[in-house]
Symmetry: C3
Subunit: 340 residues, 3 copies
Amino acid sequence: MKLKLSEITRLVGGELTGDGDIEIYGVNALTEANNDEITFAVPPHLEKAVDSKAAAIILAQAIPGLSQAQLIVANPREAFGKLLSVFAPTVHIARGVHPSAVLGDNVVLGENVAIMPHVVIANDAVIGDNTVIYPFTYIGEAAVIGKDCLLYPSVTVREHCRLGDRVIIHSGSIVGSDGFGFVTVGGKHRKVPQVGNAVIGDDVEIGANVAIDRATTGSTIVGNGTKIDNLVHLGHNDVIGENCLFVAQVGISGSVNVGNNVTFAGQVGSAGHLNIGDNCVFAARTGIISDVPANSFYAGFPARPHKEWLRSEAGGRKVPDMVKKMRDLEKRIAELEANR
Amino acid sequence: MKLKLSEITRLVGGELTGDGDIEIYGVNALTEANNDEITFAVPPHLEKAVDSKAAAIILAQAIPGLSQAQLIVANPREAFGKLLSVFAPTVHIARGVHPSAVLGDNVVLGENVAIMPHVVIANDAVIGDNTVIYPFTYIGEAAVIGKDCLLYPSVTVREHCRLGDRVIIHSGSIVGSDGFGFVTVGGKHRKVPQVGNAVIGDDVEIGANVAIDRATTGSTIVGNGTKIDNLVHLGHNDVIGENCLFVAQVGISGSVNVGNNVTFAGQVGSAGHLNIGDNCVFAARTGIISDVPANSFYAGFPARPHKEWLRSEAGGRKVPDMVKKMRDLEKRIAELEANR
Amino acid sequence: MKLKLSEITRLVGGELTGDGDIEIYGVNALTEANNDEITFAVPPHLEKAVDSKAAAIILAQAIPGLSQAQLIVANPREAFGKLLSVFAPTVHIARGVHPSAVLGDNVVLGENVAIMPHVVIANDAVIGDNTVIYPFTYIGEAAVIGKDCLLYPSVTVREHCRLGDRVIIHSGSIVGSDGFGFVTVGGKHRKVPQVGNAVIGDDVEIGANVAIDRATTGSTIVGNGTKIDNLVHLGHNDVIGENCLFVAQVGISGSVNVGNNVTFAGQVGSAGHLNIGDNCVFAARTGIISDVPANSFYAGFPARPHKEWLRSEAGGRKVPDMVKKMRDLEKRIAELEANR
């Protein structure tokens, strides 16, 4: 695979400074790129551009004096992402149903699907057009998988759950495991049947080893465009909005309503039965224990406004000095009292 | 599926206020139920009962003036759970051994088992009566699975491990992975063979993507009736009591002894080689680093009595005010000293 | 399996006090061993040696007056580990390729491999000599697995990823899932293709349900001899050194450089794009948010030197007393002012 810089410019748009005939053989990170590759630079890494071996650099603003060709675009990350797709090594995917796959009764397969070896699809399930299902993935009874989905190896989609279109699920993830619901009677925990399902919207991506529980009744919902990183837990009856980001190892207890465009950084946890408004951002490791209004930037455990958290975090560190200070003040007071 | 309210009353017990001939077609949550469904209400959600569209509401105490039929029982959650089972959509499970399953030598299968497609059972394993094993689940050499167990897709039960009766394991969980045991010699970590096993009691439920390590020697043990949520880690040689609850993402290091009826809320962690007494409750995210006496309610990291944790948490937040205050006091002292 | 104490002494080295003809039938923990087994004792458990039922105890220094035979060696843990291998129940592994395994085109298999039932190996993959692959494990296109590796059930090694020799991967783990990379344009998160791979060194062990992401470009790297416990997350483009230890549930964001011999205790988290020097130790639950120099012992969130963390942790608890004290001082000042 190779493209001239002029062809790349046509592909991603923008303005090229440099020789359009230079041939590019790949895309790579700023500090890793070779002299036949293209890269990109954004703050705070702009000062590393001068030392990059790349043949060309995608930038938002020209940097005077750079030896490399410069391609100036509105959003360098976006342009770079586009080129990654173009240069990506393609994986060979055979369309059709492998003979070792086991399909139940009344399974409906769309056109151009790839059902790889050792897939199991239970009765009455529906698989949309162009969807690719890797080995060892299980689609439960009457589950519905949309079009253009990509399910990696060892995924489980339990019975009656639904995925939208263009959903990507990485290895080891489960959609629709039973919620953690028990009634304790005489010290013993009796299972509350989890008869609801889980419904995943369009364009959702779910990382590796994620667990999304089905609802007790009704549906656990993940809205369109939401992206979930590895090892995340979503409890039963959670209703998650659109275009949210869940970074790795986040855990959300049951019956939490999350608005749109909410970002949970790594290892955040939330108690159950809460409402979290649109556009909230939670710093890494925040522990949410009460409702959070829209547009909040929260941190800490218990969660509070980020500035407040910084202040109280700093507080603990000042105490040793304060203890000394207070001892000193007490001494001075005692002296004043003695001399009264 | 439909039942008259009078039939439901006979089924769960209790006292009905309302028309016993009303036909119920499903069970649902208080705020989700339709007018042909039954629901339940308990504190703190009782005030939402008046607005529920449900045809009937299960309650512990009658609420005067409600328009819906009321079914008064001792434990509304329990009654609701019973009805969930009754109304649950049944999943069709074919009994017998699917021809694509691979069974080793001397495997003993109980009566009425369901060994689904692409299951692998190694030599000398034993599967109890009525046990259901979903696709892609691996049962290791000489492992013993009890009666009436339910193993969802992609579960691994490693060699020589044992499950009791009525055990449920959700997708992606592992029983009997090697403990994390190494001897560091000259800066290199040499593996300590993990030759013990893991033994899971009766009526245990294990969520999705859980990892329970086998013991170095002897057994890692999970007692009868203990329920484990998604993404929980139990280290080698842990001995867990009966009827405990492990909420999602809890991690317990190796060689921890946990009593009966202990609750670990989400994301709790425990250091290894500790003893935790009966009936303890650990708030979310508690970090346990020393032994905990029975009947404790602990929180924080390091773990301490919940009240103490609340106090010290509040402490950090008071510091900024104290700093100001102290500056003021110092000024007043300086003035007194000047006027001495 | 049985060995005379004299044979054991020859095997592990060291000096025996006691009857070399005693026959040993197994190895076990100090408090669990029976009178035909051998055990070991190290501080702080030495005082339990006197009550052990074991026939013989491996020690670093003789304990006067013990009734059991004593085997004195330089490193009791190491000697015990060696004996565990000797006495371990062997698991029967059939060499060759099971007929239910599905191999793509141009797959290269080394000598003496065991490809168990329902394994899938994609086109152009390479499997080294003596490597054992359990059921339901997927090896992606052009992936390279070294010699003497052991891959347990339901492991995924995605396309183009590489494992060194003697790598062990426990059930449910994924090497080479897509990194969590998106460009947000107009409020929507567009996927950045992850075209790099993940490269795992020699002698690495990866626990159960671990997720190691592939790089956006280039490689996510885990150095030789590093050991990773269950449910750990390593982000895209992480470069991890040699002989590191990652205890359970650690999460490292993307583009973190970790030196050699670094230990992350349980549930540690790290922000992305950081440099962590050689020989660092992070206490359980540390939250790393900036670069850490070599040889640091850090704790807390935000991470700081362990001693400093202890001091600030203690600080919060002193505040309630300080509040009282300050009130008292203020009263005394007011009195002095009144009497001026």
